[in-house]
Amino acid sequence: MTKDIIIALVVVVGLGFDFTNGFHDTGNAMATSIATGALGPRTAVALSGVLNLVGAFLSLSVAATIASGLVQTHLVTVTVVLAGLIGGILWNLITWLFGIPSSSSHALIGGVIGSTIAAAGGHAVKWQGLVSKVIIPAGLSPIIAGLIAATGTWLIYRISRNISDGARRHGFRYGQIGSASLVSLAHGTNDAQKTMGILTLALIANGSLPTGAKTPFWVILCCALAISLGTYLGGWRVIRTLGKGLVEIEAPQGMAAESASAAVILLSSHFGYSLSTTHVATGSILGVGIGKKGAEVRWNVAGRMATAWVFTLPVAALVGAGAYGVAAGIGGLAGVIVDVLILLALAGYIYFRSRKSAVSHDNVNDEWTGTVAPDQPESVAA
């Protein structure tokens, strides 16, 4: 009975992570389309939500590899997974509060690694796998995406230079819808799989599934719904930073950015690299700023983002380790419940803080004034 409650809580927390993953990443696909007006904000998040749902069902090659390439999975317990998820959720929420696009994938990986170390020691982590499959691709992918996006932008502007601005904007807005949709689909196939993989791992560790079992359909369904719902609620704060805070984007640039993102994400997963869609999308957006003469790139915003990225793995790991320490220290069902209560309390506090400088579909496109929420007297980060 106790085991059942614990695993049920872990599944719920896992879906909670998937939900935060959803709203954190909406912007990767849709920020550029919202910023240029190619899609209305609510239409964009609805479209992205539906496509994420579809995408989550499309690819059946599930990333249980997210764990097996990184940690010794036989050392992973249900509590380890719970703590890892908590680490991931809290990092997602904190970066969301500050409107910083950051990798949900890294948050999850960091959390799980932290809790694994806390539970089983450093030897339980496959460090080479971490560096070669996560860290190095994380560093390279935004550069490659930026390069492709810059090239695409330069080509687009050259080729279409004789078209009137209005006509060009009109045409590329259609292009944007297509490319942004593709990114949403790609995101659904990639990111939902990660939570499915982690939950499958938890179920195997709990004995609910035999070792090496495939992900059950109900897990797929619930994860798909969770990420899709999160996407639809839309992380407006992050959308705003991506769409308005980094580069002032026109329709052709928007299409170039999303096309580059889609290409890099799809190609990389084809080769077995599970990338951060956030890193790729941000790299693309910076690339279109570079590719167009006279475009303004706010490097200070980019710098804040890069700092957050560097901290993602270690901080999520620390939180994951801490969460594990609390749960294991108290022990049993009580430990798990305390962990979940702390998570809810912190999440509630973060949400409460966010209301003071709310960003939503009606002010997401306002002029960038240097802070996440428009027209705030002092920065939220203070």
């Binding site: 995408g55 080729i159 004789n162 078209i163 006509a167 790609a186 993102s261 080769f271």
Partner: protein, 104 residues
């Protein structure tokens, strides 16, 4: 160097960059060509080719197009060429989706 191979799969990296450029930059470029073909005026010549922007910023001296947002310039050959471009793009996207569904 075998040392590097342990950390970076250079073959995969190379392929991602090249195919990424072809698809991620090439397809939008093709789309831009499609728009350009679509935009050709009925006379058959690309509007103001080489003339650049006039003093008032307008690129077209085409009669009958008051709506600056209209992409279609009236040239039916251009329309055909544009459709070919867009068809290629859709095919490429379809192939991409097929790759997803078929799995890595």
């Amino acid at each position: 160097m075998s040392g590097v191979d342990k950390w970076i799969n250079l073959t995969a990296l190379w392929q991602i960059v090249v195919v990424g450029l072809l698809a991620g930059a090439g397809l939008p470029a093709l789309f831009a060509f499609g728009l350009r073909f679509l935009n050709m005026p009925a006379g058959g010549r690309v509007a103001t080719a080489g003339a650049g922007a006039g003093p008032d910023g307008h690129h077209h001296a085409v009669a009958g197009h008051e709506n600056e947002e209209t992409v279609y310039g009236g040239n039916s050959m251009g329309l055909v060429a544009a459709c070919v471009c867009f068809a290629v793009i859709l095919a490429a996207i379809g192939y991409g989706i097929y790759l997803i569904v078929a799995g890595a």
